[in-house]
């Protein structure tokens, strides 16, 4: 089966480099076109309907996100390629999309491509991408944003306000949702902390990330813990007390 891909990057060197790497390590892919800017990129996507799109976020003029927003079809797997972009990567992570950092790590490239090929066989609308676009479109309305939680069997998009807390167990993170539902994902808790801190979550303990909106009270006994809306008690570690206090006073 032929898997097609396009590369959109503002630098020819980078395109060349990625082509060479893909040729060498992912021979099942066929690069059908490349583009040096977003406008051309949009054109080649519409023309070739590739299975996979490698997209640079930062490009002069129209950037990668703007390109995606102007596309009507999202039936492709997306792999972002970026040198350094704090904000962009946050958004990408929020929707659990794949991304590669320059210079490219071959192992990461292989993994990302394999996953993309696996998913592309389904040829359905890319929900993660749609979620990303949703977030980008309503940047200021954070309560509309849905975070992509990928469990073993599916990817769920959950409004952050419906998450009461997260609990870590090694490399897994369990989300406790409103309505007593639980979702277990295979990413460590700190990755979610990075994303969710901007949504009013606080890491009150090594193993706990809590949504401020769902804190009922701070119970001072037994060294202090937070009582949440679902009546669970979450401990506060000693060194985090000041931080938690400060965060709660911000409201």
């Amino acid at each position: 089966m032929l898997v097609t891909a396009v590369i959109i990057d503002d630098e020819q060197n980078n395109i060349d480099n990625l082509e060479i790497l893909l040729e060498q390590y992912c021979p099942q892919l066929t690069i059908v076109a490349t583009a040096l800017n977003a406008t051309d990129g949009e054109a080649i996507i519409l023309e070739h309907h590739p299975d996979i799109v490698f997209l640079d976020i930062q490009m002069p003029g129209k950037n990668g996100f703007a390109l995606l927003q102007s596309l009507r079809t999202h039936s492709f797997e997306l792999i972002f390629v970026t040198a350094f972009d704090q904000y962009g990567i946050q958004a990408v992570k929020f929707s659990a999309l794949d991304y590669l950092l320059k210079p490219i790590d071959v192992e990461e490239l292989k993994t990302a491509v394999h996953k993309a090929i696996y998913r592309s066989t389904e040829k359905k609308q890319n929900k993660k991408l749609e979620n990303l676009l949703q977030v980008l479109e309503h940047q200021q309305q954070k309560d509309l944003h849905r975070i992509a939680l990928t469990s073993a069997k599916e990817t769920r998009f959950i409004r952050t306000q419906d998450i009461i807390r997260c609990e870590s167990s090694n490399n897994y993170t369990t989300f406790f949702l409103f309505g007593r539902e639980k979702i277990m994902t295979s990413k460590p808790i700190f990755e979610y902390e990075e994303i969710l801190v901007n949504y009013g979550f606080i890491r009150c303990h090594q193993s706990h990330l809590v949504n401020k909106k769902h804190i009922k009270s701070w119970v001072k006994e037994d060294g202090g813990f937070l009582l949440l809306d679902d009546n669970t008690q979450v401990p506060i570690s000693r060194q985090k007390k000041e931080y938690v206090k400060g965060e709660l006073e911000k409201n």
């Binding site: 060197n13 980078n14 060479i20 790497l21 930062q58 002069p60 003029g61 320059k102």
Partner: protein
């Protein structure tokens, strides 16, 4: 004619030589001596200066003699004794009748006297009255030690006071023969009569011993202290003359001479001025004045006078030793201490301010650093990515070249990481390296022109301030143009200003759009922070962009040269 002997007795001998001149003269008497009989004019008067202190022998009747009477009260007494000791006692100022050396004794009963005041003789001739000591205790006219102790006294009940300024004439004559013996012309002269301090004592114990009394409870001096009294007082560490005296404590007892009949508990009055005293009224007192509650460090003036001579005021000044904290020394130390503390405070304040200023500057430089640190990453990773590309393309030579240039940039950047300012030459070198690296990616042309008048090694500019502007020129200006892209960097001077002008021939942008690009915003923030620290050397950033024909960025370093 009665033969009357003049016999000189100096009553004042006992009291002689005391403190104040006023008193020295006071205690003089004149004695008219008629064999066994003496007529004594005493107390508080001076004798006619024509009478010197040696005895004179004259023949009575004596022509009228004038005397000034100074004292409050002049006594005229007559003694009659056959005591050979008394009669042989011949001190000065005695007028002795030589006419009756061996005559019969003259008796007091034979004498009569006629006082005349202001030309009037209201009483006429009168007998001398015998004085009874027992009947008149306390008004004994002479000292108890007087040699007249056992004599018989006759006293005139009225003498002369200092108020009797017109001559008072006392005429003495023999009652039987009516022969006039002598006539006294007495003139009352008012003169300062001041209380005299006999001694004073201060005591810290609050139990003042009354030094006016001796062991037997007797007064040391009825009128004036004797030499023995003086010594006693010396033993008590008191000092007769306390003018301008410094005393050590707040209790002071002063002793004035009390003498004669008119020295009683309210014969004098005093008042204390100075310190915090506000009471100016006079207080009646006897011979002792006790002052309590004097204040340390205050100066006082004690005024004392006889009630009957209110015009004459004796003054004593004294001050009470200051407490240790009232002394000039202490005040000096205190002043010095205050100055020290003040100085320390100022110093502390100054250092604190310097500290704060430094802290603020540190803060600013931290913020600046933070901004600077953010300049690099995107470029760094892109550069690394480019190198990766060259490696994968097997373009080993180019990869080497790129890697070396990149290392050089990284090295310079790291070396200058903690430096706010670097020499213009170094900055330009970094920029050129940066341009070369970006050139590898986007293939544009660039030119750097530096005014030759500028000393590139001496002039310092904020490190990597131009870099983001050039990055913008590349990214938004020439990156899409490839070989046709041109970036020009001109460094020149305009009067005292240093100018950096970055021009690109890219597409430019409309004035209204895209002024808030990330790199540009950071640069603006950094300039704002720099202007806070540099103050007099403000940096201005001007951007002119014309759509489709490029952008020019002016960076003006005011007063930089």
């Amino acid at each position: 004619m009665k033969k009357i002997f003049l016999f000189i007795i100096l009553i004042t001998a006992v009291f002689a030589v005391f403190a104040q001149p006023v008193h020295k003269e006071d205690r003089q008497a004149i004695v008219f001596r008629f064999n066994n009989l003496s007529i004594i004019i005493s107390n508080y008067g001076t004798i006619d200066p024509s009478l010197n202190s040696t005895s004179r022998y004259i023949q009575f009747p004596l022509p009228a003699k004038g005397f000034n009477v100074y004292g409050y009260y002049m006594k005229i007494a007559v003694t009659e004794t056959t005591d050979p000791f008394v009669n042989s006692f011949q001190p000065a100022r005695t007028i002795i009748d030589t006419s009756s050396a061996d005559a019969r004794l003259m008796r007091a009963e034979d004498l009569e006297v006629r006082p005349s005041w202001r030309g009037l003789t209201p009483i006429g001739w009168m007998d001398l009255k015998k004085y009874h000591q027992e009947a008149n205790p306390g008004s004994y006219p002479f000292s108890e030690d007087s040699i007249f102790r056992n004599a018989v006294y006759y006293l005139l009940t009225r003498g002369v006071t200092s108020k009797d300024t017109a001559a008072s004439i006392f005429t003495f004559r023999n009652k039987r023969t009516k022969q006039e013996l002598f006539r006294l012309n007495l003139f009352g002269v008012e003169r300062p009569i001041l209380p005299m301090l006999g001694g004073w004592v201060q005591d810290t114990s609050h139990t003042l011993r009354d030094i006016g009394l001796d062991k037997n409870g007797r007064k040391y001096y009825g009128t004036m202290p004797s030499e023995a009294d003086m010594k006693a007082m010396e033993r008590e560490r008191s000092d007769i003359d306390m003018k301008n005296e410094k005393i050590q404590n707040t209790l002071l007892s002063l002793y004035f001479h009390g003498a004669g009949v008119w020295y009683n508990d309210s014969s004098m009055e005093y008042r204390l001025r100075g310190g915090s005293m506000t009471d100016t009224s006079w207080h009646k007192t006897g011979h002792r004045i006790l002052l309590t509650d004097l204040q340390h460090g205050d100066d006082y003036l004690l005024q004392v006078r006889y009630i009957i001579h209110p015009r004459y005021i004796q003054e004593y000044t004294f001050s009470v030793d200051p407490r240790w904290y009232q002394t000039a020394k202490f005040k000096m130390y205190l002043l010095f201490g205050c100055l020290c503390v003040g100085f320390a405070f100022v110093l502390f304040n100054y250092r604190q301010r310097v500290k704060t200023a430094r802290w603020k500057k540190d803060q600013l430089s931290l913020e600046l650093k933070a901004i600077r640190a953010q300049l690099n990453p995107h470029f760094v990773f892109n550069a690394l990515s480019s190198i990766q590309g060259l490696i994968n393309k097997n373009d080993i030579a180019k990869a080497n070249h790129y890697l070396v240039e990149f290392s050089s940039l990284l090295r310079e950047s790291m070396a200058n990481n903690d430096k706010e300012m670097i020499p213009l030459g170094n900055e330009l070198k970094i920029l050129e390296t940066y341009l070369k690296l970006e050139q590898l990616r986007f293939h544009f042309q660039y030119e750097i022109i530096v005014d030759e008048a500028l000393n590139k090694n001496a002039i310092e500019i904020p490190s990597l301030l131009l870099q983001p502007l050039i990055e913008n020129a590349i990214k938004h200006g020439v990156s899409a143009l490839n070989e046709k892209g041109l970036i020009m960097i001109r460094i020149c001077k305009n009067n005292n200003d240093l100018l950096a002008i970055i021009t690109d021939n890219g597409n430019g942008f409309a004035e209204s759009t895209n002024h808030s690009g990330f790199g540009l915003r950071l640069t603006r923030e950094r300039i704002e922070l720099l202007n806070k620290t540099l103050k007099r050397l403000p940096i201005q950033l001007k951007i002119e962009s014309i759509e489709n024909s490029g952008t020019t960025v002016h960076l003006i370093f005011k007063n930089w040269l």
